[in-house]
Amino acid sequence: MLRWNIIVAALFILVILVQTVSAHSLRGFLDSTVSNGRLLTFSPSTEVVLRSAEAKYKTYVRADGTSFVFLNVTAGSYALSVNSAEHVFPTLRVDVATADVEVFLTHPGNEWSFKGPRQPYPIELRPFGPAVYYQYREGFNVLKLFKNPMLMISLLTLGMVFVLPKIMDSMDPEQLKEIQQEQAKSVPSALANPMNFDVASYLAGKASGPSSGSSASHSKAAGSARSRKS
């Protein structure tokens, strides 16, 4: 109701002044401006909770959409948090003493005796950002596909398939022979023959060395290499 909004906004200060309840009252507001100048809105179900070991106070955002008032608060050291479905707010430490109210920024996990930076009073709460409850699935993206290192490697290899023969052709035949011989020597057997990879022993944590059976595969590999050459 617009009428109520206006009345509440106008009389907000008055409430604070006229409140005659014996205990303390705390007031504050949720900062609705964000850095890019957009105005946030806080739903009426936005709860503001003031809590200590002894007491818990809960109030709601007033009809002006940002302010809140705690009434009848006894002296003590409280944690003030905002329970909102839409926004994430920092937690504040509020020390209510007979003389005045001190507000500090705090963080879960901090020792309670460790006070964070001092905050102004009336309490000002600026949301960190929107509450994110969800994960988002990654859709199909061609650009992302090409950013994948696996794809980049395979594309490179594919390119080499076409380019290498050309290079080989332009090479000196003796030099070529030398390279081929060197290659045949240097390729380790386990890599050269992935078919013989012992999955069971790998999972069992045993070092799957190129020991057993690899010599046979080595000669086999060499043989096949030779046959291809001829």
Binding site: N5, A53, A63, G109, W112, V132
Partner: protein, 918 residues
Amino acid sequence: MHVRLLSLLLTLTFATLVCGLFADEAFVVDWHVASIGSIDPSRAILSPDSVAVFSDSSVLASLDPGNGTVRWRYFLRESAVPRPSLLLKLDSSAILLAAATPADAAITHIAAWIEDSGYLIWEAYLTGGAPVGVSVAGDVYILQSGGKVRRVSHLTGSEVWEYSLPEGHSPVDIVASKGKVLIITRKQDSGLGYFTVNAESGEMASDRFVVVDKNAAAVSFSKSEGYGADILSWTAPGETSTIMVANLSDTTPSVHTITPKHLYASFSLASTSTGVVVAFTGLDGKSWAESYSSSRGKLTLVGSTDPTESASAVGAGKLFEISKGSISSFTLDSVDVNAEGTTEVSFPSSPIEFVTCSSSACLVGYQNGEYVFSSTTGVTWTRDESVTNVVSAIFMELEEEGQTASLGEVLFEENAAPLQAYIHRVKRHWNALAGLPQYLISFFHRFLSGDYDAVPIDPNSTVSDTFGFRKFIVLATTQGGLRALDTAHAGALAWKVDDVLQSDTIVGIVRSDAKDRLFVVGAFGSVAYVNGVTGKIIALSKIAQFGLGDKVESVITFTDDGVQYVAAWTAHAQLHFLSGSTPSKPVYFSKATESAIVGFIYKEDRLIHTWKFTLPTSSYRITSVASRDPDDTTVSVGRVLGDRSVLYKYLNPHILAVAAVDDATKSAALFLIDDVTGRLLYSSFHDDEVVDTAAGVKVVVGEHWVVYSYWSELATRGEKLVVLDLYESDIRNVRWSEGQNFSSFADTPLPFVQGRGYLFPEHITSLAVSRSRFGITNRDIIATLDTAQVALLRKRLLDARRPINREPTNDEKEEGLVKYDALIGNDKRFIVSHVYKVIGTEKTVCSPAHLESTVLVFSYGLDLFFTRITPSQPFDLLSKSFNKGQLLLTIFALLVAVRFTGPMVRRKQLNMRWGTQK
């Protein structure tokens, strides 16, 4: 801002272990029922554009009068109690709630709310007692039990004046009108009367206590609320044939006596434009109404209705009669009671608890917890609030549709002679061929439609879907009814039964040996045997030899040789078996009292008390007791570490976790006890932490671990989640049980316990642990929070082996361990209930789906919340992001590529053979 940076860092650290809900699964896999609780007619305001209610569960809500949905609601457990409280209209757009505060009944909390948006306008706390009466005449006038009268500004809630009643008066009610405030009180020796106070100044207008009756008994007060006059009514002590009334709107009120046609049991009085109308309920239960007109200082009977079985109530200027099958309305004028019309309506068959009406519609409350909002044209909406008062909830398995082989057939084939079994099997397959065309059609339909999700199921059927996501949740309500909700159709009501135990209150429901059968046990020994799928009551009986004045306290189940026995445990320490037979072998169980755990053995039809575990000091009290779900299965007896060595789990199904708090020293303690022998296996104490003992300790027992939580103030404020992992030995590969089952009576070593504490920023109200079908999937901890949310914590995250102050080694990384960080849950993606406001949940139950990966989770309390979780990712389910079109397109593209490159390769090979390649 370094705090923001820190949060961001934390978010990144746990990105792998926080598995938030996928945006496309929200509102699909989960549902939520927003409830308000039981409605009391004195705290319900009906108006043409809203229905405002302050329920017995301390929920202030505004309902849409058109469809009964909740427009807004607040759970005011911290600031307002339902009794005593008063709800009334502040003006055309705002409502006012005055209630005693839960912390101190001598303080009244008064708050004004905008009715359509739900914003709080103002609130105030007033000392001087609970609210007795509130009257709105521009400003708010409130009478409190401590004898205080206050005028409060209707714009700000600030006090204008205060007036104290003289000594010896007990307040009854208050009414403000035309610049004066009438305060009705009772004085010890003078009886019922009233004061008049000046509304402007707050001073007594006339120094006189006007006595209206010296010895009035039950007093009720009908305020005009803008319609008719303010009528005070009361009865003479012990009198059931007359009612005394006084019109306080008159300048000089005079007392009238109403003598109804018949003797009455109760009455309700409403003022009309010309006089009063009284709705009576007779001694025989029948009700009628009488209309009186006031003229020249006299009340004369102008008309009445005939006594009927229906309930009647008066709205503004109209009389309504609600029977089982119809709603009738009557207009009231100075001449007669005129029947306006009757509409045939099908109302619930449960007995009516109350009827309250506005000028056009009535809200009817039924004893089974249903509320019907009906106008003279028919039922506008129905709300079932019985689900807010749940005693116990249980998942019911549904049969899968079109199963080709029944269990019996498969068992026959496994056990019969090979030839017979073979013939049987061939026959079965031959018969199944008849369904092949149907299968092929549905297969291609599914293939083309691309819908690989749970197949839609007819909501009226009682079959399960392929994945077992559809089950019924049977709820036992405090009103003695059963409700079955369909998990696959947003909690739609599958069936309901009211008053199952014939006015006995339900203590518990348990599944019987037959999968679809339930035992419903009542406090006074009634037992109903119910079909959990259809809701049909198969048998209703009483426990034989049930002790006089005895009461069933809980229902216990025992499993002996695969046979399940259900027993009722009573207050007189009796054990009654419900299924007739008793277990042949001795069975062990324990019961918790306030400060001790007592062990029993049931052997040869005798109950023997065996052991007692008492808490260390008398100031401790037990807050919760937990044991492992008997249906939970273990697939791996050990935990494999990074170097392939094994820590063997301490798998004892008899572990009882007992959590206790000490209110005096503000400390908490946890004890692990063997349920059979009472042997203490482990204990931990949390002294010097300033524990919130009122919130207690919440505890769950998983496979070989225990997780408990409590709120404490030191060293840092927060909910402390402690995980204890139990192993047979701290030495790797060492196992004293040597793979054999060990007896609780044997002299076994104590478990090796490894523990870690974690910090959770929000208050946890209850814990539960998920259970998958075969126990292969990880387990998740489900926590209901004080912030009206449900959080999901990975057990992998709550690990007792996470390395502290160093990065995990390669072996530890392989084990899935991450560096220890005390703070968890500082990320909204832990919240599985996402944007739902799930208020007042107190308990969570889990049930596995047919898929190993998926667990169905249901939280209840005030609201109901259901979701499906996959603690180890949906590994056996095609992901939603799976794109069939894309896959087919890729295959097609490859085919085309092969078609084109094939000739090229062939040509090249041919050239090679011919040696023509360059």
